[in-house]
């Protein structure tokens, strides 16, 4: 229904990040927005996490620029990223462990609506509770509404993880290995969820499961040693000689790095 | 000791209940005064049972209880017995204020005696004067004499820095003596410093320099080069307790004692024990009481003997003696007043001259400061000590006189 925005939503320009003498990421440029789902791949230590941290504002770049919706984000503090419409999930489940599933989502939603209100009752904030319930149903956790997050099963925690990222209703969703540690059944359900989400927003994801990526994403970026070595459709990437060399040299084929 | 205190505490509660019950029963047959006569005379006694001055507090309690026992054995106040309600003030003024409130509001104490630090004493005084309860303070301070903190309910049985420094200076300073001062930077330290300098000015001694050190400092090494460079004949160390033990010890380590005589305002029994004979050897200071006063003063002998008999041959110490002189004089006034009524007892105390442990004493009218003798003592060399308790040599006894106090005028009391 909702058409994918045609204008570029995120523009990355010669982005780089150094840690002391070590260069984690160098000269990465790309424009996102045309494709619904883009995957970022690369062997361990290729700079995927650093790129994600830069795109979500957790780290400030030491070189280059970042524009979101036409707005320069290079020096914007992390909290503002969420307000402007960028949200991320984490590779290691990173929820609010002792809050219930419902509170996890409601709190995450509240971060955009109200932060310094000392007087209202938090459960009476307009529509938040209802919206949290709706989102809970979306990610399939309606039956776990009042269970503390720490007591949920692994797959459920992963779903909640993405739910928290969705809570701010972002235009751009950054997902760090959304299927990490999942069995084939759970992975399948997650893929279906991602497809659904991709219909209404731009998704960038880091993944290791090649089969899944090839089936799911419209575009793939390949990082190696902190540099972008390939950028194209799944078919183009599969045919790329440089990419084959990197991956074959690594572990003898596509697979878990 | 504290067990005794608590027993007193619970006894008081029980007797209070019993007393009230009796009052009720007897009121029915129209004889309320009999019950009233049986009501004990309750003396609240806050003292720092826990904390660094635990040993001094223990001595105070023993001495105060001895005074109560003697009062009761001689028939009390027409059969009314006295009891001591010991409370642990933990050397904390806030704690002391709470305990004093309890003693007044709950235990209905008639009088309060006690406190071992200047801060605790002033806090107890603040509570008692607003509640119009008589308080006999037994901790050394100049502040409590001054009009700002004084009230007619406030009595001060202990010495004060002005008295001790004047006495020590008189005995050690000469015209032209070069005196260096190391003083703790808080009220008590300033009071001692002021006292010494005043005495020095009168005698004609010179000030070689002065250093204020932070209160409670554990290390004095950084002050020593400067103190040495002042080349004093006498080093006056104006601090108290642990600070005194530490600074004397370190002055000794730096060889200052070889170059100068060390003089302190107050030489304490227990600090000397903690600091050791070598560090304190030859240090001169003042004291309110030392047990060997018994050789010249009969009341000291009587006090020591009673104390020895009651506590397995132990001897009373300086701060312990305050517990005795204060409670004893208070109970003498109660007897003289014939009542526990605060105003009557105040009047009786103001008119009282008592000799219970160290020669005659009396309270001055304007500030209720006890006029009393001051002992000048010198810490003995280890090889010259005759027994464990023979810590000091009495150099002199300065007889009590009003001239040793600051004038009422100076303290801000209008005549």
């Amino acid at each position: 229904m909702n058409p994918v925005p045609q204008a570029p939503i995120l523009e990355v320009e010669a982005l780089g990040r150094r840690f002391g003498a070590f260069t984690a990421l160098e000269d990465v440029s790309a424009v996102f927005g045309k494709e619904r789902i883009t995957a970022i791949i690369g062997p361990n230590g290729a700079g995927k996490s650093t790129l994600f941290n830069l795109l979500s504002g957790a780290l400030a770049p030491t070189a280059g620029r970042l524009r979101f919706g036409g707005r320069d984000m290079t020096r914007v503090p992390q909290a503002r990223f969420a307000h402007l419409g960028i949200a991320r999930s984490y590779q290691i489940t990173n929820v609010f462990p002792r809050l219930t599933a419902h509170e996890n989502l409601r709190t995450a939603m509240q971060a955009r609506a109200s932060r310094y209100d000392f007087w209202s009752r938090r459960d009476a904030l307009s529509g938040l509770a209802e919206r949290a319930d709706a989102l809970l149903a979306d990610i399939g956790l309606a039956g776990r509404r009042d269970r503390p997050a720490a007591s949920l099963a692994h797959g459920e925690q992963r779903a909640l993880e993405i739910g928290i990222a969705l809570a701010s209703d972002p235009k751009l969703l950054l997902l760090d290995e959304p299927t990490a540690g999942m069995g084939p059944e759970e992975t399948k359900e997650m893929v279906a969820l991602l497809r659904r989400l991709g219909e209404t927003r731009t998704i960038l994801l880091v993944e290791h499961k090649m089969k899944m990526i090839l089936g799911l994403s419209e575009r793939i970026l390949v990082l190696h040693h902190g540099r972008l070595i390939a950028d194209g459709s799944p078919a183009e990437i599969q045919a790329d000689r440089e990419v084959r060399r990197v991956y074959l040299g690594q572990s003898g084929g596509y697979g878990h790095a | 000791m504290i067990e005794q205190g608590s027993r007193h505490g619970s006894v008081s509660r029980r007797t209070l209940v019993r007393g009230l019950a009796a009052t009720g029963a007897l009121a029915g047959i129209g004889m309320p005064f009999v019950a009233r006569a049986a009501e004990p005379i309750r003396i609240g006694f806050p003292t720092p049972v826990t904390g660094p001055f635990g040993a001094e507090a223990k001595d105070q309690i023993r001495s105060a209880e001895l005074a109560v026992k003697q009062f009761n054995e001689t028939g009390g106040l027409n059969g009314r017995m006295a009891e001591l309600l010991v409370r642990d003030d933990k050397l904390n003024p806030g704690e002391a204020a709470t305990r004093t409130l309890e003693l007044i509001e709950k235990d209905k104490a008639h009088f309060i005696v006690g406190a071992l630090s200047s801060a605790v004493q002033l806090s107890v005084n603040e509570i008692t004067r607003s509640r119009k309860v008589l308080y006999v303070s037994i901790s050394q301070s100049d502040t409590i004499n001054e009009a700002k903190d004084f009230s007619r309910y406030t009595f001060h049985e202990a010495l004060n820095p002005h008295m001790t420094t004047a006495a020590v200076a008189k005995h050690t300073f000469k015209k032209g003596t070069r005196v260096a001062y190391l003083a703790a930077d808080y009220a008590y330290g300033h009071e001692m410093l002021r006292g010494f300098k005043r005495a020095a000015a009168a005698i004609g001694a010179e000030t070689a320099g002065e250093i204020l050190h932070p209160f409670g400092a554990p290390d004095y090494s950084t002050f020593m080069p400067r103190l040495r460079s002042m080349r004093p004949d006498i080093l006056c160390i104006c601090n108290f307790g642990r600070d005194q033990a530490n600074s004397i010890k370190q002055a000794n380590d730096f060889g200052l004692k070889k170059a100068a005589r060390i003089v302190v305002p107050v030489l304490l029994h227990n600090q000397r024990l903690a600091g050791g004979a070598d560090a304190f050897e030859g240090v001169v200071g003042a004291s309110n009481y030392y047990w060997r006063l018994e050789e010249t003063v009969p009341s000291a002998k009587a006090f020591n003997d009673a104390f020895r008999a009651a506590y397995a041959n132990a001897i009373p110490t300086d701060y312990g003696a305050y517990g005795y002189t204060a409670v004893r004089s208070l109970l003498m006034a109660v007897k003289a007043a014939g009542d526990t009524d605060t105003d009557k007892v105040i009047a009786a105390l103001e008119g009282l001259t008592y000799d219970v442990a160290k020669g005659p004493e009396r309270y001055r009218a304007c500030d209720h400061q006890a006029i009393q003798s001051v002992l000048i003592t010198e810490s003995r060399k280890k090889s010259e000590m005759q027994g464990e308790a023979d810590l000091f040599r009495i150099l002199d006894v300065e007889a009590g006189s009003e001239a040793a106090l600051r004038t009422c005028d100076e303290l801000g009391h209008r005549a």
């Binding site: - | 660094p52 950084t222 010890k249 600090q271």
Partner: protein, 298 residues
């Protein structure tokens, strides 16, 4: 204050600097154990000052029985170190996996127990501890006189530092310890018993605190409260130096000694404030301390 400045001369300033360095050595000693335990186990030992105090009492205990200061200097810290082993095994270890605040809180409570325990065993008054005969007296340094015993303390601290440095940098155990401080996972992978390592490191840290106590005993009066001030001083030094950094403890200890000493020269009553004001200043400029790793809890 004018008279103080008038009295200033080069010799006095030099002497004051020297006193500062010597006092700094004491501060280094106080901070070392705290820093080692934090660096390795990630535990802030709030009972550090109290172990220092227990060390001084252990020194008194051994001295009374053997009459030898040297025995006290050796056996005292070993006794308290053994107590540290027990504390780690039975009080700290059960807290593994819990919030890092928990060991801190536990040692805070332990401090009360240690102080009261000593009061019960040795009384609430202080105890005398004479300077050992062979180390008493003053030495003429040319710029002024200084107690021989304090020179000895500087020497002992230097020796301890050399031994620690050698142990950490030049031995296999040191290698393991350093690796463990960076990432405990590595040790697990290498099959090293990390619990045993932590046990001994904790014991070592406590023994160092106790050694500080025995060394301080002849300079300060031995009393149950002597650890309270020390805790504040040790904290200030480690915060300035950077938590967990040995180098930081050494440099900050000496710096603080000099700052305190120089303050004592011009405004002696401010000597206690100077240390904390200096710390506040360092924190404003470098929140992680002079040698602290920014990643480490900051």
């Amino acid at each position: 204050m004018t008279s103080a400045f008038a009295a200033l001369d080069l010799e006095l300033i030099a002497m004051q600097l020297f006193s500062g360095v010597a006092l700094g050595a004491v501060f280094v000693m106080l901070a070392l154990g705290l820093s080692i335990i934090f660096g390795m186990l990630g535990i802030v030992n709030f009972a550090h000052g109290n172990f220092f105090m227990v060390g001084a009492y252990a020194g008194v205990f051994v001295m009374e029985r053997t009459g030898s200061f040297w025995a006290a200097l050796l056996v005292g810290p070993l006794m308290v170190g053994a107590l540290g082993l027990l504390v780690e095994r039975f009080l700290i270890r059960p807290l593994a996996g819990r919030s890092p605040d928990d060991p801190l809180l536990l040692t805070f409570g332990l401090g009360y127990v240690l102080v009261e325990g000593v009061r019960i065993l040795f009384g609430s008054d202080g105890l005398p501890f004479a300077t050992p005969e062979e180390l008493s007296g003053v030495a003429d340094l040319g710029i002024g006189y200084f107690p021989i015993y304090r020179l000895f303390v500087v020497g002992v601290v230097a020796l301890v530092l050399v031994v620690l440095w050698y142990g950490l940098e030049r031995t296999r155990l040191g290698l393991i310890v350093r690796a463990g401080a960076r990432d405990p996972e590595i040790l697990r992978v290498l099959g090293i018993d990390i619990q045993r390592l932590w046990l001994w490191v904790f014991g070592l840290g406590i023994a160092l605190a106790a050694l500080g106590g025995v060394l301080a005993a002849p300079m300060r009066s031995v009393n149950p409260e002597m650890g309270n001030v020390v805790l504040g001083e040790a904290f200030a030094v480690t915060v300035i130096g950077g938590m967990g950094s040995l180098m930081g403890s050494v440099v900050a200890g000496l710096l603080v000694g000099i700052v305190v000493s120089m303050t004592a020269l011009v405004a002696p009553e401010m000597a206690s404030i100077a240390m904390f004001a200096f710390m506040a200043l360092v924190l404003l400029i470098r929140p992680q301390g002079l040698f602290g790793k920014p990643g480490l809890g900051v």
